[in-house]
């Protein structure tokens, strides 16, 4: 176990250990996998000791959540609750309080477990991952950083230092709903809509589904169908959900058949749409936790 004092030193260590080393944040995924002998590392680089990565900051038009901020800190953060309530609400329903108290947002994204709640919402919100490696910094969109199940675009020495989420404009509303009967969600669906001044038409839509595919996804076709006058969009909802389902291309597994998951995408798109437009704060919907 190593405890670097800076991101640079951590990157240096990771580069040196290569295959034999791994970054360690809350350990809620990593230690479990190691305990079951699915992963073996000789060196763990504890990122929690690096100063500066545990901050939540609101900037003018974005919110920055540090790489080692825990779910619990996000859910309790006054800034997040005020500026991005949908994020706080989504976080409140991740796993259980023990996992939330130690598990980090960075760890959640970087483990790339397909049933991630944050990944789905962050994709719809257009969040960006700030990444630093031995040779410098870069920014990756959610669709860039998440490559597949348990697979990210990060090199061995690269560390996620923060997630930057654009703050929704006044005309924007967002909802995140999930269907969960197992330990992790069967379906997550995030919907972000921009409304015109009358509130009657949707000028821009972002819809993401997660948990049903190796990584969360969006569909341009679906988003086009979700744009336009409200009544028209309402009529197009099932077509939009079909497009979204095609993009996700769910498969049969223990959580359900592909057919059932496609059906759920339709149900949840309709529920999210109704919720976004009703203006009710998210989370009124009963979510299993």
């Amino acid at each position: 176990m190593h405890q670097p004092k800076s991101v640079g030193e951590a990157a240096e260590m990771l580069a040196r250990f290569g295959e034999k080393g791994r970054l360690y944040a809350g350990g809620t995924e990593l230690l479990l996998a190691m305990k079951h002998d699915l992963l073996r590392y000789e060196h763990l680089v504890d990122i929690k000791t690096v100063p500066g990565l545990d901050k939540i900051e609101a900037k003018n038009s974005s919110l920055s959540i540090g790489g080692t901020v825990t779910h619990r800190e996000i859910e309790k953060s006054a800034v997040v609750r005020e500026r991005l309530p949908v994020m706080a609400e989504m976080t409140r329903h991740i796993a259980n309080v023990r996992v939330r108290a130690t598990g980090t947002l960075g760890g959640n994204i970087c483990f790339a477990e397909p049933h991630s709640d944050p990944a789905t919402l962050l994709l719809a919100l257009g969040a960006v991952a700030k990444v630093q490696g031995k040779s410098g910094e870069k920014a990756l969109s959610m669709s860039e950083i998440l490559m597949g199940a348990y697979e990210t675009a990060l090199a061995a020495d690269e560390i996620l230092t923060a997630i930057e989420i654009p703050l929704p404009a006044k005309s924007q509303r967002a909802a995140y709903l999930k269907f969960q009967t197992h330990e992790r969600p069967t379906l997550g669906l995030a919907l972000v809509l921009s409304l015109d001044e009358s509130g009657r038409a949707i000028t821009k839509a972002a819809a993401a589904v997660g948990s049903v595919a190796p990584k969360p996804c969006r569909s341009e076709q679906a988003e086009a169908l979700l744009t336009g006058p409200r009544e028209k969009v309402e009529r197009q909802l099932s077509e939009a959900s079909g497009a979204l389902a095609d993009a996700a291309d769910p498969v049969d597994d223990l959580e359900g058949s592909a057919e059932y998951k496609r059906h759920l995408i339709g149900v949840y798109l309709r529920r999210a749409f109704a919720q976004v437009l009703s203006g009710n704060p998210p989370g009124r919907e009963k979510i299993a936790d």
């Binding site: 002998d37 269907f179 009967t181 223990l254 359900g256 059932y260 009963k286």
Partner: protein
């Protein structure tokens, strides 16, 4: 035994706080995992990746030379032992011999200085397998060209308390069959006014206990000593005695606290393997399984049931017939008894004049099935109680009223040759129905159901105990009953304290050490309060009889002149408490009196079952018609327990059992894809959580003192599980009009049924 009226009790029928509560919540209670013997080594098990394969060769030389390894043991190293064990039939080798019969079967074990070293060495064991065709379901197992799991004939096991014959080992995959028949079923179905017929499936489930299997064995020249998380130490002793060919006196099983059993820890599990490890390593060895390994050790029998039930024009149930195929997995374990019990329990707590039940269980290449809370009852109560509702709907009767009209009445001999019914189901049902608001209006998407079950419980009555009364008047109970969390170590001293008239705090329990505590058949089948409770009551009274004689001696009067009062004796003006009697008898403030009791199948226990375990549950559910997801709105349990020695503990058993049954009704199911278990971890196998508990819960006890046990008590603790899956299915049928004949009722299954209903409707 004279019955005391309920309100006269000093200690029993009071919810005294459980004895082990503080120690357990503060982490001070010792379980086998906490124990360490001098020189103790650790074992880890290599398991077969194949479900059915010949063991061509096993090379352990590389593993044996790994750092920290004492020895490696395989099925080839067992010469000198009788490696086959089993309660019903000895079909189970302690390590695979010649072939493996399920994916996950132990093939070899490494014994090393610590767990890590043992674990690391496992991958250096080289095993060559030759795969064989697998058999995964009863249907496949009975096919003509099905490969055989077991080729040879078996010796019978201990068979303690088994009524029928064991079928296993006759050159087929049939493990056990059992049949009951009375009246004329064919004739009755011909005459019936209405009949319901259907096929049902009850899933494979895992009896999750927080503590996974763990045992420490110390095999040396003095015999075999084992510390284990076993429910039935005396049964395990028997298997080890025959494996090592030792007299009973040289096999010692010690069971400290057990972290939950639910049937999964009944009979012998990992003890023979650990003992063989110690035997070969020549030192004490500990084996602690992970939960994932525990899930590869035992499960419930899944059951395919075809059933039909008939009523006459007056709404009286006149016939029931069922054919059940159970899947017992690779080894018989206790499943032959599960088959016998589930056959009987098909009749339910109903008085039915024409009955025929045919039940068969088959060996398959899956994890061996065995006891599971409710013992075969839940498997057949899903079809049984579903059909009661289906029939009621068909003849246009209220299902609650329909049950009231047909349940067995108190004292009724509803099951030939068995003990007359000793419960009060009409009262129980009424309480359950009231608790969930049976007659109140329902919102859309909501439904209610009440259901019941009656099990021939108590296993076999063979129990003994000693109650030692010390010179200061305190007492120690020697009991073979195991504290699994059910509260036996609180209930048993309550009974002794009641009888001896001494403070509850002064009565202590020494338990579950076969070298010290007298024989008790088992801790299961809800028998402890009834049988061990009766034994403790009798032993306390026997100690009192002895102390009466002593008092007469001390006071130099005739025995007849001594009068027993609470906590002592009186003779004229003289009054002595137990401490004074004993101290004066011995002439020193020391010494003791030992009261004993032996319970056997005689007297009031001559007729089986020991008692009918009877309970009702009531539920209200709401169904999300878009997703198929069920929410539990209300739950009521009614435990028909005769008398609750400790009401809070009895209610705790009921809510626990009902929650477990709810898990089966809603989401618990071990899923196989081909021969591989797909969800063999508690992350993937969905267990009930606190957040799943129904929004409103009412727990009721019915205490008519109609049981055969102490003060009219009878057992509880399993019964509230049995009717839950059927209850949920019935409530869903009433909520949204779809009948689902398979548990669990997952959201997708409910959604599919709703879709099917829509399709049928649109076709009309």
């Amino acid at each position: 035994m004279s019955k005391q009226k309920k309100r006269d009790f000093h200690v029993v029928n009071h919810s005294v706080p459980r004895r082990d509560g503080r120690a357990k919540v503060t982490g001070k209670a010792a379980y086998v995992s906490d124990l360490k013997l001098i020189g103790m080594a650790y074992a880890k098990v290599l398991r077969s990746p194949y479900a059915h394969a010949k063991l061509v060769s096993i090379d352990t030389s590389r593993a044996a030379s790994q750092p920290g390894v004492y020895c490696v043991i395989t099925g080839n190293d067992l010469e000198g032992l009788d490696p086959y064990y089993g309660h019903a039939v000895k079909d189970h080798p302690l390590l695979a011999i010649e072939k493996v019969r399920y994916a996950g079967e132990p093939v070899a074990a490494v014994v090393a200085v610590d767990e890590r070293a043992a674990f690391e060495a496992l991958e250096y064991i080289d095993v060559r397998y030759e795969e064989l065709k697998t058999v995964l379901t009863p249907q496949e197992a009975m096919a003509k060209d099905a490969p055989l799991l077991h080729e040879k004939k078996f010796e019978a096991g201990a068979l303690r308390g088994f009524e029928g014959d064991v079928t296993a080992g006759r050159g087929t995959n049939l493990c056990q069959e059992h049949h009951i028949k009375w009246g004329d079923v064919e004739e009755a179905f011909k005459k019936a006014a209405a009949v319901i017929e259907g096929e049902y499936y009850f899933p494979m489930t895992y009896a999750y206990a927080m503590e996974a299997y763990v045992a420490i064995a110390d095999v040396n020249d003095n015999g075999v000593t084992i510390y284990s998380s076993a429910q039935h130490p005396f049964m395990v002793r028997h298997d080890l005695k025959s494996i090592f060919n030792l007299p009973v006196s040289q096999v010692r099983l010690i069971v400290p606290f057990v972290g939950g059993g639910y049937g999964s820890k009944s009979y012998t599990k990992i003890e023979p393997l650990v003992a063989a490890c110690s035997w070969k390593a020549k030192r004490p060895v500990k084996l602690q399984l992970t939960v994932e390994e525990a899930m590869l050790t035992t499960r419930s029998d899944d059951a395919y049931t075809w059933m039909r039930t008939a009523v006459d024009a007056n709404g009286k149930i006149i016939a029931r017939q069922a054919k059940i195929y159970m899947n017992t997995g690779a080894y018989a374990e206790n499943s032959p008894l599960v088959v016998e019990k589930s056959t009987n329990r098909c009749v339910g707590p109903y008085a039915i004049p024409n009955v025929q039940i045919d039940n068969y269980s088959f060996y398959t290449n899956t994890v061996p099935a065995s006891s599971y809370r409710g013992f075969g009852c839940a498997q057949v109560t899903l079809p049984g109680e579903s059909q009661i509702d289906e029939l009621a709907a068909k003849i246009g009767k209220d299902p609650y009223e329909f049950r009231l009209a047909n349940v067995a009445k108190p004292g009724q001999e509803f099951f030939p040759k068995m003990r007359p019914f000793d419960g009060t189901l009409e009262e129980d049902l009424a309480i359950a129905a009231k608790a969930i608001g049976w007659k109140e209006p329902l919102a859309r998407g909501r439904g209610r159901s009440v259901a019941c079950s009656g099990s021939d419980a108590g296993a076999y009555p063979l129990t003994s105990t000693a109650v030692r009364v010390h010179a200061d008047g305190s007492a120690t109970i020697m009991t073979g009953s195991t504290e699994l969390g059910q509260g036996s170590h609180t209930v048993i001293p309550q009974i002794a304290a009641e009888e001896l008239g001494v403070p509850f705090e002064n009565v202590r329990v020494v338990s579950s050490d076969t070298a010290i505590t007298p024989y008790d058949r088992s801790t299961g089948a809800s028998r402890t309060t009834t049988l061990m409770g009766s034994a403790v009551l009798e032993a306390s009274r026997e100690a009192i009889q002895q102390m009466v004689v002593m008092a007469a001696d001390v006071l130099k009067v005739k025995v007849e002149e001594i009068q027993v009062v609470r906590g002592g004796v009186r003779c004229g003006e003289a009054q002595l408490n137990w401490s004074e009697v004993i101290s004066r008898f011995y002439g020193l403030p020391d010494g003791e009196v030992i009261g004993r009791a032996y319970i056997r199948k005689a007297g009031k226990f001559s007729q089986l079952p020991v008692f009918w375990e009877t309970a009702c549950t009531g539920v209200e559910v709401s169904v999300d018609e878009e997703t198929g997801k069920i929410e539990m709105e209300k739950l009521a349990t009614v435990g028909d327990v005769g008398l609750a020695i400790n009401p809070a503990l009895a209610e705790g058993q009921d809510i626990g059992a009902a929650t477990m049954g709810m898990g089966i009704g809603l989401f618990e199911e071990l899923v196989y894809q081909g021969p591989q278990l797909m969800n063999g971890s508690i992350l993937d196998y969905r267990l009930p959580r606190f957040s799943d508990l129904p929004k409103k819960v009412e727990l009721h006890l019915v205490e008519n003192q109609d049981g055969v046990g102490p003060y009219g008590a009878k057992g509880g603790g399993e019964a509230s599980l049995n009717s839950m899956a059927a209850n949920i299915a019935n409530a869903v049928a009433r909520a949204v009009g779809v009948r689902i004949r398979q548990a669990p009722l997952t959201p997708e299954r409910v959604w599919r049924a709703l879709k099917e209903k829509e399709k049928v409707k649109s076709q009309k």
